[in-house]
Amino acid sequence: MWFEELLITIKYYLVLQMPGSLQPVGSAFLSSLPIMTSFGGLFALATLLERKMLGRIQNRYGPNRVGPGGLLQPVADGIKMLTKEDIVPKNADHLIHFLAPLGLLVSAMLGLSVIPFGHRLIALDIETGILFFFAMGAASELAIFMAGWGSRNKYALLGALRAIAQMISYEIPLILSALSVLMVVGSLSLSDVAQAQSGGIHTWHIFTPWGFLGCILFLISTLAEINRSPFDIPEAESELIAGHMTEYSGFKYALFFMAEGVAMFAMCALTATLFLGGYHAPLPILSFIPGPVWLFGKLTSLVLLFIWIRGTMPRLRADQLMEFAWKFMLPMSVVNLIAAGVWVALDGGVAAWILSGLLNCVAYFGWSRILSQASRFNPRTYRYAEEAGVSK
């Protein structure tokens, strides 16, 4: 608590030093500055961490040449990216090509503004915080389309279309699984959601039947939403060069990468807020440690989980991706929503625990059994032109 109060006091002191007409702008600037700087730095460190951890998973060292233990590798990467030539294709739509990376980064950064980093430590405390977050996520789809279409490149357009199809498909389970939390909390404001889990580890939403399934569904949809492995088909290197980023180089390419990283952090922060207690300590005794430390700890462990998943799983095929979204994710998230409804109707307690847990378990085991029997290594069927023309 003291840390948050200190930060807020400093901010108000600084704002009061400004002339009156500048105060709203100054306040907004001072609120967004820590977010932008800290997540920019965190992104740089995360790239290094990702490469190191992937290396260890593959029994390699990872980057260890620049600086002690490779710590300065992000700096070297940054210098390389910034000094590279910025090439724009001759036939590209210059304005759209230029606006796309900016739009992506801005929408990713704006998503962070509704995340509560501590008690009262939230840049934009609005009633409809989570809706704002998802609206910004939707705006990033448009930016990806602009990147793909503005490049005048087949691979870029194909990658963008794949990305958008994937993001729209996975947005539904994403929002539905978040909705279960909102139903129970009864508010769209993320600070209310965090406040509802203030009592310690047993009040965290992940330790309820609907929260557990919801968290897993949310994490899977998050992976798809930020185009990370195993859902990285929009930028599948072996098929599409780099998807919508094919025609970008230098600083703009770095912006794309940064937007991806920031979107990952924003999604992880949202997951932590929705299911893992937000900025609250797992035990009330530990609450002397400031809230941002807890949130960043949870966020980092989720990022580590994502890297771990990336080091484990191969890329999905496009049709498998869609099948998974519509045949598994969507029904499960609807069932989870019903389970959360049962919880709300019974107002928590043991009966609600058993009922919603039973509902989720039955749905999960039953549905996965049906699905795996339906597609148990069927021989692949091919369609040939001659065969399709045969009339029976």
Binding site: M53, Q58, N59, W308, G311
Partner: protein
């Protein structure tokens, strides 16, 4: 059950992740400029010229016969003969190269030059650190860069060097035997001539 295989895979990668910290055998990476793996005995890439003794110019085995230059498929060898001759290991006067260049940017390491060389003078090296800042000059190896001692040859390819030395010993023995036989033949011929002369002398004296 959906998700079981994924969990199994994640356990496996987690084992790799933690194992690479406490089990050094897992990490097969060699930190190259600081650590080097000793080259395998049969490793070879570009040719070099062998010399005997300590003075590379005097001990160079090459007699500039130019067979390798003619046989080289990508024609990366360039030889110019010197006017002055020098004695080889058998004591015979032989030609020597004035210029002997190998362009390693062209060389494909086929080892044909080694196979055709009748004087055991050109052999394959295993040094691979040829990186330079210039594509042309630094990759054109001249005679003084190519000349390496027989000791070095023994250090990189011991078995092969042993065989080469045996061939040379054999050659020397053959040469000595030949010389001996020649000398004997010569002596015999002389003797015969002498006896013949003595005989004819005696016959002449008889006739008289």
């Amino acid at each position: 059950m959906i998700g079981k295989g994924i969990l199994k895979g994640m356990v496996e990668t987690a084992r790799n992740l933690t194992g690479s910290f406490h089990d050094p055998d897992r990490l097969t990476t060699v930190e190259y400029p600081e650590q080097k793996i000793p080259a395998k005995e049969n490793a070879r890439n570009f040719p070099f010229l062998i010399y005997d003794g300590d003075d590379w110019e005097a001990g160079l085995r090459c007699v500039s016969c130019q067979i390798c230059e003619k046989e080289c498929p990508p024609q990366c060898i360039y030889i110019e003969k010197d006017k002055e001759k020098k004695p080889d290991f058998l004591g015979k006067m032989q030609m020597q190269p004035k210029i002997f260049d190998i362009d390693v940017s062209v060389c494909m390491g086929c080892q044909i030059c080694v196979e055709v060389c009748p004087f055991e003078s050109i052999r394959m090296d295993n040094d691979f650190e040829y990186a330079g800042s210039d594509r042309f000059e630094s990759l054109l190896l001249t005679k003084d860069q190519l000349a390496k001692s027989n000791k070095y040859y023994h250090s990189i390819h011991p078995t092969e060097a042993q065989e080469t030395d045996e061939i040379r010993v054999q050659k020397r023995e053959d040469h000595l035997a030949k010389e001996k036989a020649k000398a004997e033949k010569l002596a015999k011929a002389k003797e015969e001539a002498a006896t013949k002369a003595a005989l004819s002398k005696a016959e002449k004296a008889k006739e008289e």
